[in-house]
C-alpha cells in the first residue's frame, strides 16, 4: 500500500475495532440494534472491499461493484471457507500478523489459514460468550482442557481459546491435559479429576467431542466431580461416526464424570470465524432465564439460513445452508459461506442439521460411513 493508503487503513482499523469492541462489550445487556449492526457490518464490509483486492474482484463477480451497492448487511457477498486455503485472505500485510490459526486437515488436504492482525476482537468475543454460557454463575472456575498446551499447538484456534479461558476464567488448578501427541494423558486426566474431587472444587472440563470420546469411552474408571462441575463439548465426530451420537457422549460424560447432560454445554466454532456459538442449556440449568433452543447467535454476529445456492432465506425450521456474519472478523471476512446445513430455531438461534458440519468431501466409497451412521 502507498503510505497514505496505509495510514488511512490504520485509522479505519482503529475506528472499526473500537466500535466492534464496544459492541461486544455491550453484549447481551445492551445488544446492537438491527440498524446498528447493519451500519457497522456494512462499514466492515467496505473496509474489506477496499483492502482485500481479491475480495473486491470476487464481489465484482457477484454483481457488487462498490460498497454502496450493498444496501443491507444481508447482501454482503459471503466468502466460502475454502478461500482461506486459496491464498492469504486478509486486509492487512504479513508484517502485521499477530496470529495465524489453521484449519484441521487430513493427509493430502490443504489447510486453511486465518490471519489476525489483532487478538483483541477475537479474545473479547470468546470471553463474552464463554462468560454468559459457561460461567454465568461465577467469576472463575478450575478449567481442565482436553487439549495440548498452547505452546504445542500455536496454530490451533481451539487451543488459543482455552489459553484465553485460562487467563480470563481459570482458577488455580487449571490445566491442559493432552500430551504432545494429542492423545489423552490418562494419568494427567485421572490425577486432575482426583484432585478436583479431593479439593471439592467444581471444574469446567472442555474439549472436542473426539477428545472426550477418547478420554472416557474406553476407560473403566469413573469419578463423581463436585457439584456445579460442567463440560464444554465442541466439534463433531469427524471420522468417528460409529459414536456420532451426542446423546451417547452426554451419557458417557455423566456416567464417567458425574456431570449431568444439562450441565454439558455445546460449542460450535470454526477456525475461519472469530465468534463462537453456544447452546443455552447449561445457562438454563444454572437458573438463568434463557429460552433459546439451539445455538445462540451473539449480538455482534448474525447467521442466515438460506436455500443452498440461493440468496433468499429458508423459512424458520426449514433446512438450509448456513451463512455467518461476524463483526469480529474485521481483518479477514465478515461474511462466510459454508456447506454446513442448519435451520433457524429463533431469531437469534439456529441448529445444525444433516451430515456432520465441516465433514470432508465425499469420494466414491462412502458406504461404510453411511452405514455406520445408521443410514
Amino acid at each position: 500500500l502507498r503510505p497514505d493508503l496505509a495510514e488511512a487503513r490504520e485509522r479505519e482499523v482503529a475506528r472499526l475495532d473500537a466500535e466492534i469492541l464496544e459492541a461486544i462489550g455491550r453484549g447481551w445487556d445492551d445488544p446492537l440494534s438491527e440498524e446498528e449492526f447493519d451500519r457497522l457490518a456494512r462499514d466492515v464490509f467496505a473496509h474489506q472491499f477496499r483492502f482485500n483486492p481479491v475480495y473486491r474482484q470476487f464481489c465484482l463477480l457477484q454483481g457488487v461493484s462498490a460498497p454502496a451497492d450493498v444496501e443491507r448487511w444481508q447482501a454482503i457477498p459471503p466468502v466460502p471457507t475454502g478461500a482461506f486455503k486459496v491464498g492469504r485472505w486478509s486486509t492487512f500485510p504479513p508484517d502485521d500478523d499477530r496470529a495465524e490459526f489453521r484449519t484441521s486437515g487430513t493427509t493430502g488436504n490443504e489447510r486453511g489459514v486465518h490471519y489476525l492482525d489483532t487478538l483483541a476482537l477475537y479474545n473479547a468475543a470468546l470471553v463474552s460468550s464463554a462468560r454468559r454460557y459457561l460461567l454465568p454463575d461465577r467469576e472463575r472456575i478450575r478449567c481442565l482442557f482436553l487439549s495440548p498446551e498452547p505452546r504445542l499447538a500455536r496454530d490451533s484456534s481451539l487451543v488459543h481459546m482455552f489459553a484465553v479461558f485460562r487467563e480470563a476464567l481459570g482458577s488455580p488448578g487449571t490445566a491442559f491435559l493432552l500430551a504432545r501427541d494429542r492423545q489423552p494423558g490418562a494419568d494427567a486426566l485421572a490425577s486432575a479429576l482426583e484432585r478436583a474431587t479431593d479439593d471439592d472444587e467444581p471444574v469446567l472440563l472442555a474439549g472436542a467431542a473426539l477428545a472426550f470420546h477418547h478420554a472416557l469411552a474406553g476407560s473403566d474408571r469413573s469419578w463423581c466431580l463436585p457439584p456445579s462441575s460442567r463440560a464444554m463439548v465442541t466439534g463433531g465426530f469427524k471420522g468417528l461416526r460409529a459414536s456420532a451420537d451426542p446423546v451417547g457422549l452426554a451419557r458417557v460424560i455423566e456416567e464417567k464424570l458425574g456431570i449431568p447432560p444439562e450441565l454439558q454445554a455445546t460449542e460450535y466454532g470454526m477456525t475461519e470465524l472469530s465468534t463462537q456459538y453456544y447452546d443455552a442449556k447449561l445457562r438454563r440449568a444454572l437458573g438463568f432465564d434463557d429460552s433459546a433452543r439451539g445455538l445462540v447467535i451473539p449480538p455482534w454476529a448474525r447467521v442466515r439460513i438460506v436455500e443452498p445456492g440461493e440468496a433468499h432465506e429458508s423459512p424458520p425450521g426449514e433446512t438450509g445452508a448456513i451463512l455467518h456474519y461476524d463483526l469480529a472478523n474485521r481483518g479477514s471476512a465478515l461474511a462466510i459461506q459454508t456447506s454446513d446445513l442448519g435451520a433457524r430455531t429463533r431469531a437469534d438461534a439456529f441448529e445444525l442439521r444433516g451430515r456432520e458440519p465441516g465433514a470432508e468431501a465425499r469420494g466414491c466409497s462412502l458406504a461404510a460411513d453411511l452405514w455406520l451412521g445408521g443410514a
Binding site: G108, E360, C364, L372
Partner: protein
C-alpha cells in the same frame, strides 16, 4: 429373492438359510456356480431381456437420468463377467481354479481354497453394478453373501439376485440383498455371524469397523480412491474430438460417483481451457443429471460453496467454470498444479495444464495411496513410458482413456487380487 423392506425379515432364520445355501454351494463345482453368475450377467447384458428393460426404467427414475444413460452403465458393468473371464480369474489368482473344489497340487503341497462360510458386504452408494461385483467375487468362491446396501441405493442388486435365482435357485439362495438400517438387530446379527466382511469407506471409518464384527471375522476393506486422466499433446493432435469423447465416457459414467471416474484431467501443452465447453457438453450428453438447483440440499450447499470458491480463484486471477447452477455438471479450468482431490459435490471435473506429460507422476505421488486409475490419451509408447513411474508414484492402474470404466474381471482393485483376498487356504501334505 427380492429387495426386502425395512424390518421385513428375521435375520437369525435368514442367516441360517444363507449358511445352508453356502453348504449346498460347497458341494458343487465352482465352475458351475460361475457359469450361473455369468448367465445372469448375460441376461442383464441383453437389452431385450424383460428384467433388464424394467431395471433400466427403474434406475432411470431413481437416478433421474434417461434410460440410455443407465444402459451404458449396465453394458459396461455386466460385460466383464463372462464365464471365461470368471474361470480365467480363478485360475490366475488361485493358481488352479479347481482348488475351489478339491485339493490340487500347488507348489510343495496339495492345496484347497475355501471361501468364507458367510460373508457380509457393506456396499457403496456409488456405481449401481459395484455391489453386484462384490457379490460375484464372493459367490465365485462359493461363499453365501449378505449384501447390505447403502441408504439411498437403487435396487439393481435385488433385481440381479432375482435373475440369479431364476437361472439357478441354489446359487440365488446364497445371495441375500438387504437394505435394513445399520442399527437394526438383524444387521448386527448378520455381521456377528459373518466370518468375512467386505466394506468400502473412509480410512478412519473402516478402522472402527472392527468393533462391529465378530472377533474371528476377517475384514477386506476398500478405502477411498480417486482417478485422473491425462490428455497428451499427441493424443489431442491425433484425434481431438475422440479424445474429448473418451474423457467424457470415463468422467460421466454413472454420474461420476465411482472411484474410476476422473476428478481431474491434465492437458499437456496449451489450449486446455478451450476444452471446457466441449467437455461439459459431452458429459451432459452422457449423463444428463438434473440441474444443481434440483439436487438435494446437501449437494446444493456443497456445490454452492465450491462455486463460490471457484469465483474466488477467478477473482485471484485464475480459473474459469463452465456449467453453473442451471446445469447438472461443472467443469473448471485450474491453471495451477492440480493433484487429484475429491470434489465436494458430484459431477465436478477439473481441467488443468501440464507442460510435459511426465509432470503427472509427481502430481499423482502427492495423492499416493489414493489414485485408483490414470487414463491416458496418447500413443502406446507414451503410455508404456509413463506406466512404470506412475506405478512407483502409487497409481494402481494405468489404462488408455475411454477404458477407465471397463476394468477386466481380474482387475487388481486397490492393488490387490479380488479372489485371493477372500479365500482361506488349506494345505494337505503327504
Amino acid at each position: 429373492v427380492t429387495a426386502p423392506r425395512r424390518g421385513a425379515e428375521p435375520t437369525g432364520e435368514r442367516c441360517a438359510e444363507l449358511l445352508r445355501a453356502g453348504e449346498a454351494l460347497a458341494a458343487r463345482p465352482a465352475a458351475e456356480v460361475q457359469a450361473a453368475l455369468a448367465a445372469a450377467c448375460a441376461r442383464w447384458l441383453d437389452p431385450g431381456d424383460p428384467a433388464r428393460r424394467d431395471g433400466e426404467l427403474a434406475l432411470s427414475r431413481h437416478h433421474r437420468v434417461p434410460a440410455r444413460a443407465i444402459a451404458a452403465v449396465l453394458d459396461a458393468g455386466f460385460a466383464v463377467w463372462t464365464e471365461a473371464a470368471l474361470a480365467r480369474r480363478a485360475a490366475v489368482e488361485l493358481g488352479d481354479a479347481r482348488a475351489l473344489d478339491a485339493f490340487v497340487p500347488l507348489g510343495a503341497a496339495r492345496r484347497m481354497a475355501l471361501g468364507p462360510r458367510l460373508a457380509v458386504v457393506l456396499a457403496s452408494r456409488g456405481v449401481p453394478t459395484t455391489p453386484i461385483g462384490d457379490a460375484i467375487d464372493l459367490l465365485s468362491v462359493k461363499a453365501p453373501v449378505w449384501l447390505k446396501l447403502a441408504s439411498g441405493s437403487d435396487d439393481l442388486a435385488g433385481r440381479f439376485a432375482r435373475t440369479l435365482r431364476e437361472i439357478d435357485p441354489a446359487v440365488g439362495a446364497a445371495l441375500h440383498v438387504s437394505d435394513l438400517p445399520a442399527d437394526s438387530p438383524d444387521t448386527a446379527a448378520a455381521l456377528a455371524a459373518a466370518d468375512l466382511v467386505v466394506a468400502t469407506g473412509r480410512g478412519e471409518t473402516l478402522a472402527r469397523l472392527g468393533a462391529r464384527v465378530g472377533s474371528d471375522a476377517r475384514l477386506v476393506l476398500h478405502g477411498p480412491r480417486l482417478s485422473a486422466a491425462l490428455l497428451t499433446r499427441s493424443g489431442l493432435e491425433a484425434d481431438r474430438e475422440g479424445t474429448v469423447m473418451a474423457l467424457a465416457d470415463d468422467v460421466a459414467f454413472a454420474g461420476q460417483v465411482g472411484c474410476l471416474s476422473p476428478v481431474v484431467a491434465w492437458i499437456e501443452g496449451d489450449g486446455g481451457e478451450q476444452l471446457l465447453e466441449e467437455v461439459l457438453r459431452a458429459c451432459i450428453e452422457r449423463w444428463p443429471a438434473p440441474r444443481r438447483a434440483e439436487s438435494d440440499p446437501a449437494e446444493r450447499a456443497a456445490w454452492a460453496e465450491w462455486a463460490a470458491l471457484a469465483d474466488v480463484e477467478r477473482a485471484a486471477g485464475s480459473g474459469r467454470v463452465a456449467g453453473g447452477r442451471d446445469s447438472g455438471w461443472s467443469i473448471q479450468w485450474r491453471p495451477g498444479p492440480a493433484p487429484p482431490a475429491p470434489p465436494p459435490a458430484p459431477r465436478i471435473l477439473a481441467l488443468a495444464p501440464v507442460s510435459h506429460a511426465a509432470e503427472v507422476v509427481d502430481l499423482c505421488a502427492r495423492a499416493r495411496g489414493r489414485v485408483a486409475t490414470v487414463g491416458i490419451a496418447g500413443g502406446d509408447a507414451e503410455i508404456e513410458r509413463l506406466a512404470g513411474p506412475l506405478a512407483r508414484a502409487g497409481v494402481e492402474r494405468v489404462t488408455p482413456l475411454g477404458r477407465m470404466q471397463r476394468p477386466p474381471a481380474d482387475w487388481r482393485r486397490d492393488g490387490r487380487p479380488s479372489l485371493a483376498d477372500l479365500v482361506r487356504w488349506v494345505d494337505r501334505e503327504d
